[in-house]
């Protein structure tokens, strides 16, 4: 009986803690001010061995998004989601192509996450649990497991799990980790690291992120400008008519 009670206490304190942590995180990055944000446009000049590649990323509250790059005098949409379908540009033909059905379905399932799945986990029916503490690059972090709705991988439902490492001191995530679910790298851990949090219209964004395989090389991006509530033509998200 005592044992049961202790287990109950334990669960309770864990669930309280995870919500406190997420709530502190949300407050730190702006809290209620996010309600006034319907989307953002982030621009960067990514340096690739001396080549400057302008990148524009637009992400809307309704889940629509696109990433546009200019490379060697060519401007193209690298990836987009129009709310229903995901699409990309083929690098050979420079023509738009629809993404596999799984990708579109997964994008639809995650379309309401803005600003992210962790801070909205309850509304979305996700589960967040504090699974411990870990040092990330010498900094003490809370490790939170976020279990989203399942996703489709090669036609099968598989768990969609992210691990957030939230700095205990600054209350913001330094790292998000997930297992790669398909392809040659299946089973490896992919990581995105965040830094350079800066304020825009009362809310905070990480202006720097680095993505790559755990313990491997990463691709970094330093945003120069983040604009909230941008004016974007609907056609920018839509699959172009051929």
């Amino acid at each position: 009986m005592l044992c049961l009670f202790l287990i109950g206490m334990n669960c309770l304190s864990f669930s309280q803690n995870v919500d406190e942590i997420i709530s502190s995180y949300y407050e730190t990055i702006g809290g209620k001010k996010w309600d006034a944000i319907n989307g953002m446009r982030m621009t960067a000049n990514v340096d690739q061995g001396g080549m400057t590649i302008p990148v524009e990323v637009v992400s809307m509250r309704d889940g629509r998004s696109f990433t546009k790059v200019t490379f060697m005098g060519n401007t193209m949409t690298m990836a987009a989601f129009d709310g229903k379908k995901s699409w990309t540009t083929n690098f050979m033909t420079m023509e738009p192509e629809e993404s596999p059905a799984d990708d579109s379905e997964n994008a639809r399932r995650m379309a309401n996450e803005f600003p992210n799945g962790l801070v909205k986990y309850k509304d979305l029916g996700y589960t967040a649990s504090l699974i411990g503490s870990e040092k990330i690059e010498g900094t003490d972090c809370h490790k939170i497991k976020l279990e989203k709705k399942s996703m489709l991988v090669e036609g099968k439902e598989v768990p969609n799990v992210e691990y957030y490492y939230i700095d205990k001191e600054s209350n913001v995530p330094l790292l998000v980790e997930t297992e790669i679910s398909s392809g040659e790298m299946k089973g490896k851990i992919s990581q995105t690291k965040f830094s350079d949090y800066q304020e825009v219209n009362g809310v905070f964004f990480p202006f720097y992120n680095a993505s790559g395989l755990k313990d491997g090389e990463s691709q970094t991006i330093q945003f120069e400008k983040i604009e909230v509530n941008p004016t974007v033509e609907d056609s920018m998200f839509a699959f172009p008519k051929k």
Binding site: N45, M72, S170, E184, T220
Partner: protein
């Protein structure tokens, strides 16, 4: 007198450097200092256990002897390590049948108890497919042989704990949990020398269990398998009561027992017994659930080395198809009456697992990795993605790139490069020895001459790799000599003072000054020569096992001082440390001077310091007496006194120490559970885990030129930290500044280019080191809020390149590929690359802007000193590169002007309903001109358009810029021709400007529907987004 004062001076210098030592906990600040793994995987390493997902046979889990747990999700094509942060010696892995996608158990501590086996620290569980693990007790069980999970209630689990190999222990037997591992009950215990070596559950009734108990013991010099306490037990009530099964079994002592139940007919049980009499050893079968047994077969394949091969599996569909582990592995298709070998593969088979849904497919675990068969075991293919290699030792040479040399458990001796085009592949490694490999050394000045050995120095070779000439050079006894006693892993070492010198240790120190052609002994017997520890012929217990693995009272480590060849240290496996200061004429035994060291503790390594001939480190390890404590000592007075430099932060026994050549307080320890680093001479230690698993590190070498720490791991191959120099300079002072750059040597621009590697997608490829400039700095705390950027600038402040600044606490490293900024290229269609040129040699500044603060550091870039290109050639290359760079940007501006006017013309036509002929003509002329200078149609593959001026310029620019010598005359002629084309295009544009464009401008002054375009300057144009 003078000598004394110099001595005092050195001593005080040494003391003062000790006084400045850091008290920082290094582990907080490792930051970007990361290890890389180079494998190899071509010979892989010992796999101890295999487990397949019951429904999805694409999911394969393996436990390895020293390399942790790996998971495949594609039927074994590729594997991922999922247990890096924990003990890497694995006894058993298990998949929860009620949640096979997510819940796995790992029992640590391999149970194939060879002399070099490691030990475990308990049982672990994951509920998310291996991403996170929780330790659930059984910490002291040392080695876990089996985990059996109830098929319906996953909280009920039975564990076979084999327990301690090297001593008595009560932490062994069968354990049961009924609460998912929170608490454990020992439900079957025999005694403190007898452990549970196998546990199987009846697949049709989880209350029925078979448990094999084995009485066994190793010492450093003997092995004993078998005793009156070994037995096979059965429970039919979930472990509440147990009965000994013996009806039909031999009487007397038993050894290790393999047991299994036929899944398709659980009344059939097979057991393989190690017994006293030869004719009673072998396979027994019961057809009534173990009540009665019949002897079937005593073939070699069934009875060979039971301590190493006691595993038996039955086809899930056919109870008569049986596979037995062994030297080659044996398979029977007639219920055990007759056997034949499994298909050809690496010898020493430890586990076999049938695909539960397709029994013609099976996986087999060997000393040489994992194999897969698709035809029921007839032919085998090796999995080439498992870098589990178990090195005993490593050495390095001075070539560029340097090579690493080492020997492996049951997998020969090898050397391979530390860098190779496309990564370090299987084909990069060269074989330089047979059998079990140990110490391998290159000749110090002629690295194509390689020394290697096999177990017990049965052979010591000198191999000329260039000439492919092989000579056995081991020392032989001469008249009057006793038998030489060589350790299984006998010491060989080269000399810093005479490149042709070799040392080899038996009970004597042998020296050769002619590359091993002739030898002389320079010591007496330096061991305890305890005759009671020299009876290896009697080793093995019920099955003789005199492999040489138990040879004892031998020298294990020899260290010649790097400062004088008169000082030589020798450490023995029976605990002696001996020193000569006169090149071997006289030896002093300093063993009694080690405080707190148990008698006869194995001296594993002596490091004679570069910081003083009187300074040395000695490492002892007592695991062969069941003592897992670390013993590392330092002397600064030739061994008269020793100080322990270990702390409780080191949580396993230690085999090796490596000192830094520059900072005497920076030390590295190779422990059974990983790498540890101290910045303060051992006051505190931190485990290094940045891409460095908690794997047993048997040997460490610090490359004197590259400052690379090279680790010989016993289970994860060679692991390298490429540059440890930032660690030399970490101290409390760095905490006071917001950012501090570390000093660096000049960076060399690599001129190498190649076509990459040839490994296939399913082969492991080791990482290459970066050839970029690695600029390191220290942040006392992480940068999280605000902007932080990095740039390379010329000494006058002009921007050279923009880089990404690392933001983490401790060491951060910016990687710069020596590039400037790429030229701005003309707008067009399709890919046509114009990359950034390489900078010239010289001085630059790194500039980091962190919020409002700016930090700068001067760095130097130099050309490859071994390059054949002259300064004149380089100057010519740089000049032409610059010329082409400018042409590309001029063309971009040229096309910008064409586009500007063309867009205006188009806009004009759109806004005016009546087409204007002049404007139409302008549009046509501009289109025609554009089409001559840039591609505007086609795709980037087979639909590509013919290249135009832009594409041609980019092409020749790339060719010239990526080579470091002068352009060829053909290339220069090509450039001249392109310039002419550009001039012609410019002339055409001038004509257009004077003709239809002028007319359009006039038109615009009349017709205001379109504004006159504003042409920006070339300089402004360059600043626009590229």
């Amino acid at each position: 007198m003078r000598k004394i004062s110099i001595g005092i001076l050195f001593l005080s210098l040494s003391l003062s450097s000790w006084a400045q030592e850091s008290v920082l906990n290094a582990g907080e600040y490792f930051g970007d200092l990361k290890a890389r793994h180079i494998g190899p995987a071509l010979m892989s390493g010992r796999v101890s256990d295999i487990e397949l997902h019951p429904k999805n046979s694409n999911v394969v889990l393996i436990g390895s002897a020293g390399g942790g747990v790996w998971k495949s999700q594609d039927g074994g094509v590729r594997f991922t390590s999922i247990f890096d942060n924990y003990c890497q010696s694995i006894g058993a892995v298990a998949i929860d049948p009620t949640d096979p996608d997510n819940t796995y158990w790992v029992g640590t501590g391999e149970t194939w108890t060879r002399n070099s086996v490691s030990y475990g620290d308990g049982i672990y569980k994951t509920t998310d497919g291996g991403k996170n693990w929780t330790k659930l007790g059984l910490d002291k069980t040392d080695r876990i042989a089996s985990i059996q999970i109830h098929p319906i209630n996953p909280n009920v689990i039975y564990v076979a704990a084999l327990g301690a190999l090297w001593g008595n222990s009560d932490d062994r037997g069968v354990y049961k949990t009924e609460d998912g591992g929170k608490t454990w009950n020992k439900i079957l215990f025999v005694n403190n020398t007898t452990g549970c070596s196998e546990l199987v559950m009846d697949p049709s009734n989880p209350n029925v269990l078979y448990a094999a108990f084995w009485e066994f013991r190793r010492t450093a010099y003997s092995f004993s398998s078998g005793g009156l306490n070994s037995a096979l037990y059965k429970s039919t009530d979930g472990g509440k009561t147990w009965n000994k099964l013996q009806n039909g079994f031999p009487k007397g002592k038993l050894g290790r027992i393999a047991v299994t139940v036929a899944p398709s007919n659980p009344s059939i049980v097979y057991a393989v017994l190690e017994a006293e009499k030869k004719e009673e050893k072998g396979l027994y079968r019961s057809d009534d659930g173990g009540q009665n047994w019949k002897f079937l077969n005593g073939d070699f394949g069934l009875t060979v080395r039971p301590f190493y091969f006691s595993k038996i599996s039955v086809d899930p569909k056919n109870p008569d198809i049986i596979v037995k582990a062994g030297l080659s592995g044996s398979i029977s298709r007639d219920g055990g009456k007759t056997f034949k070998n499994l298909g050809s593969m690496h010898s020493d088979i430890h586990d076999m697992e049938f695909d539960p849904n397709n029994s013609s497919k099976m996986f087999v675990a060997t000393d040489g990795g994992l194999y897969r068969s698709l035809d029921g075991g007839s032919s085998m293919e090796m999995i080439e993605d498992l870098p589990l290699s178990q090195f005993y030792h490593v050495s390095v040479d001075n070539r560029e790139p340097y090579f690493v040399f080492g020997g492996l458990q049951d997998n020969n001796s090898w050397f391979g490069p530390s860098a190779s085009p496309g990564g370090i592949e299987a084909r990069d490694w060269e074989l330089v020895g047979q059998g079990d490999g140990f110490r391998v050394y290159p000749h110090p000045t002629e690295p194509h001459i390689v020394y290697s050995e096999m177990q017990g120095a049965e052979n010591i070779w000198r191999f000329d790799v260039k000439k492919q000439q092989l000579k056995v050079i081991k020392p032989y006894p001469v008249e009057g000599d006793p038998k030489f006693r060589f350790n299984w892993n006998a010491p060989i070492t080269t000399s810093k003072h005479n490149p042709d010198r070799l040392y080899v240790g038996s009970q004597f120190v042998h020296i050769s000054n002619d590359r091993g052609d002739s030898w002389k002994k320079i010591s007496g017997d330096l061991t305890t020569n305890d005759k009671t520890k020299q009876n290896q012929e009697a080793s093995g217990g019920l099955s003789a096992d005199n492999s040489g693995a138990e040879n004892h009272c031998t020298i294990f480590t020899i260290a010649e001082s790097p400062l004088t060849d008169q000082v030589v240290w020798a450490g023995t496996d029976d605990g002696n440390v001996q020193l000569t200061k006169d090149g071997g004429k006289t030896w002093t035994n300093v063993t009694k001077n080690f405080p707190g060291l148990p008698l006869n503790t194995w001296c594993y390594h002596i490091e004679s310091s570069v910081h003083g001939k009187e300074i040395a480190y000695a490492v002892f390890e007592g695991h062969t007496t069941n003592d897992y404590k670390p013993y590392v000592y330092k002397t600064i007075d030739f061994g008269q006194t020793w100080v322990s430099i270990t702390t409780p932060e080191i949580t396993s026994f230690v085999r090796n120490i490596q000192e830094d050549y520059k900072n005497p307080n920076l030390l590295f320890i190779g422990a059974e559970n990983g790498l540890y680093i101290t910045l303060n001479g051992g006051k505190n230690w931190s485990p290094f885990t940045n891409n460095f698993p908690r794997v047993a590190v048997h040997y460490l070498e610090l490359h004197p030129e590259k400052n690379a720490l090279v680790a010989a791991t016993h289970g994860r191959g060679i692991i390298i930290i490429d540059d440890i120099t930032p660690l030399r300079n970490i101290n409390e002072g760095l905490l006071k500044s917001n950012l501090t750059f570390f000093d660096t040597k000049p960076f060399t621009i690599s001129e190498k280019s190649n076509f990459g590697g040839t490994a296939s997608e399913n082969q492991f490829v080791g990482d290459n080191p970066s050839s970029n400039a690695q600029i390191s700095y220290f942040l006392p705390r992480r940068h999280t809020f605000g902007k932080m950027t990095a740039e390379i600038v010329e000494m006058n402040g002009n921007l050279v390149a923009k880089l990404e600044a690392g933001k983490q606490k401790g060491i951060n490293t910016i990687s710069w590929g020596f590039n400037g900024l790429a030229p701005k290229v003309a707008k067009g269609k399709g890919w046509s690359f114009a990359g950034a040129p390489t900078v010239k040699a010289g001085k630059y500044k790194v500039k980091i802007t962190k919020g409002n603060e700016v930090f700068e550091k001067e760095i130097e870039v130099q050309y490859d000193q071994t390059s054949s290109f002259t300064i004149v050639e380089r100057t010519e290359q740089q000049k032409v590169t610059k010329e082409l760079f400018d042409l590309i940007q001029d063309l971009a501006y040229f096309v910008y002007q064409i586009d500007l006017w063309d867009e205006k013309a188009e806009e004009f036509q759109k806004k005016n309903s009546a087409p204007n002929k002049t404007v139409a003509k302008l549009g046509e002329e501009l289109d025609a001109l554009r089409n001559k200078v840039v591609v505007t149609t086609g795709d980037n593959y087979v639909g590509a358009a013919e290249p135009q001026l832009k594409e041609k310029l980019n092409d020749i620019y790339g060719t010239i810029a990526s080579y470091y010598g002068a352009p060829s005359s053909t290339q220069l002629e090509n450039i001249a021709s392109l310039k002419k084309d550009f001039d012609n295009a410019k002339a055409t544009f001038e004509k257009i400007k004077a003709g239809s464009l002028k007319a359009f401008e006039k038109e615009l002054t009349k017709n205001k529907t379109v504004q006159v375009p504003v042409l920006i300057s070339f300089e402004e144009f360059l600043k626009l987004e590229k």
